[in-house]
């Protein structure tokens, strides 16, 4: 049995029964990484020694009959999660030597459960990108076809799960960075409602949009990993004090009578025909299971991308000010005086997309422009959110494509940043609205590239979208398909 083929819930059962050890699982994944990562470049840091130590400790706990859902399960973390004693780079040269002195909350929760951290995976630098081509450690390649991008910014997370280099992964999603790569790599990815999971220890890109979420092989694994990290955190003032439901328990409810909203603004002319077909078939599958598709409208959708690229870049321009070469990270010593040190360090440390967004954001906040740009965008944001809240008065979940096209080739969109920005038109509104959304596989393109389906829930309605996703998944077999890598 190839241990890397197992899902988290399957591994958990075997571990509990003593039929496999965490050491065996960890070894299997480490070997798989060694055998495959040259081709896809998903990992920035492989944590072999500590992973095996953690596996040994997990085995002790399991042998004693203790153990939670993730005890002994090998996972990979996007290199945006601050991990104590383990290099955390955010795929940037400016943090290429940064070893944090503390663990973030989500990481701490995983460690407390006894999960095994295999290593840190590649991403677009500072989470700014939709293809993982903006990494200073080289791009990640799609395990379904290495000439294609895995999506971004959590490209490493999606690729390593699709390539069976880890049982699951944590990523972050600010404008679609979990959902879009999940779709392009044929895995499940979920962005929780803003405030559901703590952001403490997650390197900030856009503070009012960032959320932590799972990327997994199937929906049940997604429910498990979400449950493990969700919950109020006093160290994060924006985390919400609401109890965490048992996401696994509510999976099997079925979709009979469930009203599924289809926003007309998302089913546009420019949709790739394979995407249109796959999503259309998925809608029919759900109808066959008893759900009721209903047309809805989200009228402010067309403003979402512009709104996002003002709000997110503004917050990022401020969040990235701390990378100044004074206390940690890259410092360029040549040059005279303080301003020179700042300029040289940041010029050398940040990649072009990061610089682009910092400048955009600085401009949007600057005196004389604040009202017209940042403030206006925040007002539009309220309208985008209201669209969703109004729609959820009529329907229970909303269904859309994740991206207008399947994965594109490496280098195809790098010449035109604006083209790249349009990769996120279907995912961005969910972040602006602060609600939850997930992606799951629903088919393939003619070229054999995965296509994803997006399910959007009302705020703190993760159970609804997980239940819908589970019903669909169990009626199909996309989640059993394996990338050829």
């Amino acid at each position: 049995m190839d241990l890397t083929e197992l899902t988290i819930h399957q591994m958990h059962d075997l571990l509990r029964e003593g039929r496999v050890s965490s050491r065996d699982l960890t070894r299997a994944f480490l070997d798989r990484i060694a055998a495959t990562d040259e081709r896809i470049n998903a990992f920035i840091t492989v944590n072999e020694k500590q992973a095996l130590q953690a596996a040994a400790a997990a085995d002790v706990r399991l042998a004693a009959g203790e153990g939670a859902a993730l005890t002994g399960i090998p996972l990979a973390l996007k290199d945006i999660f601050v991990t104590e004693g383990l290099l955390t780079t955010c795929a940037s040269r400016i943090l290429a030597n940064f070893v944090p002195p503390y663990d973030g909350t989500a990481v701490r929760k995983l460690r407390e459960q006894g999960a095994v951290i295999l290593g840190k995976v590649n991403m677009d630098e500072f989470a700014m990108g939709s293809s993982t081509e903006n990494s200073s450690f080289g791009p990640v390649r799609n395990p379904w076809n290495p000439d294609f991008v895995p999506g971004g910014s959590s490209g490493g997370s999606a690729a390593c799960v699709a390539a069976r280099q880890a049982a699951g992964s944590l990523g972050t999603d600010t404008g679609g960075s979990i959902r879009q790569p999940a779709a392009h790599c044929g895995v499940v990815g979920l962005k929780p409602t803003y405030g559901r999971v703590s952001r403490y220890g997650v390197i900030a890109y856009a503070s009012s949009l960032d959320q932590v979420g799972p990327l997994t092989r199937d929906v049940e694994d997604c429910a498990i990993l979400l449950g493990a990290v969700a919950g109020h955190d006093p160290a994060d003032s924006t985390s919400v004090d609401l109890p965490v439901p048992d996401y696994r328990a509510s999976l099997k409810g079925g979709v009979r009578g469930l009203k599924i909203g289809l926003p007309k603004e998302y089913f546009i002319q420019g949709l790739d025909p394979d995407v249109k077909r796959a999503v259309g078939e998925a809608i029919e599958t759900l109808r066959g299971l008893g759900a009721e598709p209903v047309e809805v409208s989200l009228p402010h959708t067309e403003y979402a991308v512009a709104c996002y690229y003002l709000v997110a870049t503004a917050e990022a321009s401020s969040n990235l000010a701390r990378y100044d070469g004074v206390r940690y990270g890259l410092r360029v010593e040549e040059g005279r005086g303080l301003i020179d040190m700042y300029s040289r360090s940041r010029a050398a440390g940040f990649g072009p997309e990061v610089k682009r967004r910092i400048m955009l954001g600085t401009y949007a906040l600057s005196s004389g422009y604040y009202d017209a740009y940042y403030l206006k965008a925040q007002k539009v944001r309220t309208l985008v959110r209201q669209d969703f809240l109004d729609a959820f008065n009529k329907v229970d979940v909303i269904l859309t494509p994740v991206a207008a096209t399947p994965a594109f080739r490496l280098g195809e969109k790098t010449a035109d940043p604006l083209q790249m920005y349009l990769s996120d038109i279907f995912t961005i509104p969910v972040n602006l609205a602060g609600t939850c959304g997930m992606s799951l596989p629903c088919g393939f393109s003619a070229d054999g590239l995965p296509i994803g389906l997006q399910l959007i829930g009302r705020p703190f309605g993760e159970e609804d979208i997980l239940r819908t996703a589970f019903a669909y998944e169990q009626a199909t077999d996309w989640h059993r398909r394996r990338a050829p890598l």
């Binding site: 944090p100 900030a204 856009a206 003032s237 321009s317 000010a321 700042y342």
Partner: protein, 480 residues
């Protein structure tokens, strides 16, 4: 020349709060420790760290706002003030911008010989302090960054430009200083930087409505120097204008050695701070109940104390001001009067012996070895004639040194006043008999010799003769 111009002064005070921990993290606030020993990921601005508001800071801000007659904003917002400097770890300071926690307050001040005046307070807001830069320590051409102070809570208190002289400015600062110390929100130590005053000074021809260009005087750490700095700056600006020059909007530092201000940097390069609401923090909501609760818990402030001391306890205003100057002294006095009853007697003793002894021993009144109840006990013995006022001073000193109470000391040292007529009379007779020529001189008109006799008799009685009785007897005997 100066009388050609009206002086306009606005003041910004940064008061460092005495909460136990910092404003956005759990680090303790203490001073003088190893650099960077009181830090954590949050106040270091490490990647991934997030701020969490210390609610005590809000309480302190509300208290300060109420004590200065401000309205408390029910929903105020933290904003990021973005700029780069090595002592600012995040590259932005968390402050408040459009919606500060307090607005539209006022302070009434008095200057010597001047009429009373009301100074407006524009706003009070909460913010975090930056760290400290230490230049050229340990040799080498570098500066070192100590972030122990980073994230310490500050209240920024901004006045309207209502002051028209350095005296008014100092009166305002001293009043504000007294209030924050009274409230217990700030220790008011100017030298250590827990109460920082920046003065915006400008001049304009009399009658002109527009304000002149202002200079900002920063980093002056005593009231005396602030007055000097303002006075110098006003002269400087007046001379400049007289010579046909223009005042440049800039920051200036004061040099106490020369008594002059000098330019630090031009405020014309003023930063665009790109303020926006901090997305890591939620708005601060202060309910009416919370405000009323804070109002109920306000201590009696100096003005009210002074009035009460004058009206209810019957002491002169000057005495009341001395006693009310700091809260601990006022509380000591209040406690003493509560036990003893005589406002004037108590104020004489506190202002006299107690404050003197504290000064000589370099102690603060809350470390006073003589507690109010013990002092009250001693004052009782004066009132009931057990001891004389003069002996009381000895008793007081002994109480100070030994910690014993008055009765014990009076007993142990046999200090009871001698009031027995017979005993005093025999002393008087003795002394008069021993000094017949002096008696003659007195009877011949040298009245001043009375003191001579009193002194000898007192000495003979070891100071214990009741002065009143002694006096009466002596005069009678001298008259013959």
């Amino acid at each position: 020349m100066l009388s050609k111009y009206e002086v306009v002064i606005g003041l910004e005070v940064h008061a460092q709060l005495t909460t136990a921990t910092k404003i956005f993290c759990n680090c303790a606030i203490a001073f003088g420790n190893q650099p960077n020993s009181q830090t954590c990921p949050v106040c270091l601005g490490l990647p991934g760290a997030l701020p969490v508001l210390n609610e005590k800071v809000v309480d302190y801000a509300v208290k300060t706002g109420l004590a200065t007659n401000c309205t408390i904003t029910p929903r105020s917002v933290f904003a990021r003030k973005n700029y780069f400097y090595p002592d600012l770890p995040k590259g932005y300071q968390i402050s408040q911008f459009e919606l500060p926690i307090c607005e539209q307050g006022r302070l009434d001040i008095e200057t010597a010989g001047g009429p009373g005046k009301t100074i407006g307070i524009t706003r009070i807001h909460m913010e975090e302090d930056a760290g400290k830069l230490l230049h050229d320590t340990g040799g080498g051409d570098c500066s070192r960054v100590d972030l122990n102070r980073a994230c310490t809570p500050l209240l920024e208190i901004v006045s309207e430009p209502d002051m028209r002289s350095s005296d008014e400015a100092i009166a305002y600062l001293k009043k504000l200083h007294q209030i924050v110390v009274y409230l217990g929100v700030c220790d008011g130590n100017l030298e250590e930087g827990s109460f920082r005053c920046d003065a915006n000074v400008s001049i304009r021809p009399w009658g002109q409505k527009e304000l002149g260009t202002r200079a900002e005087l920063k980093n002056i750490n005593s009231f005396r120097f602030i007055k000097q700095a303002i006075d110098y700056e006003v002269e400087r600006q007046a001379e400049l204008l007289e010579e046909g020059g223009r005042v440049v909007q800039e920051t200036r530092l004061f040099d106490p050695d020369t008594g002059r201000t000098r330019s630090m940097r031009s405020k014309e390069e003023a930063h665009d701070y790109r303020y926006f609401p901090d997305p890591d923090l939620v708005p601060v909501l202060v309910s009416e109940d919370r405000v009323e609760q804070a109002r109920r818990e306000l201590p009696e402030l100096p003005e009210a104390k002074i009035s009460r001391f004058v009206q209810d306890l019957g002491i002169p205003r000057y005495d009341a001001e001395v006693l009310a100057a700091d809260r601990a002294t006022a509380e000591y006095y209040d406690a003493l009067v509560a036990l003893q009853g005589n406002g004037k007697l108590c104020s004489n003793w506190v202002m006299g012996e107690v404050l003197r002894a504290l000064k000589d021993s370099d102690l603060a009144i809350d470390a006073c070895p003589v507690a109010p109840q013990h002092l009250a006990g001693m004052l009782k013995r004066i009132e009931d004639n057990t001891i004389s006022g003069k002996i009381a001073k000895k008793v007081f000193d002994e109480m100070w040194q030994s910690g014993k109470d008055a009765d014990t000391i009076i007993e142990e040292q046999g200090l009871k006043q001698v009031t027995d007529l017979g005993a005093i009379e025999s002393l008087v007779d003795e002394v008069l008999a021993a000094n017949p020529d002096k008696v003659e001189e007195y009877r011949a008109g040298k009245d001043k010799l009375l003191g001579f006799f009193v002194g000898l008799i007192m000495k003979a009685s070891k100071g214990k003769a009741n002065p009143a009785t002694l006096n009466e007897l002596l005069i009678r005997k001298l008259k013959g």
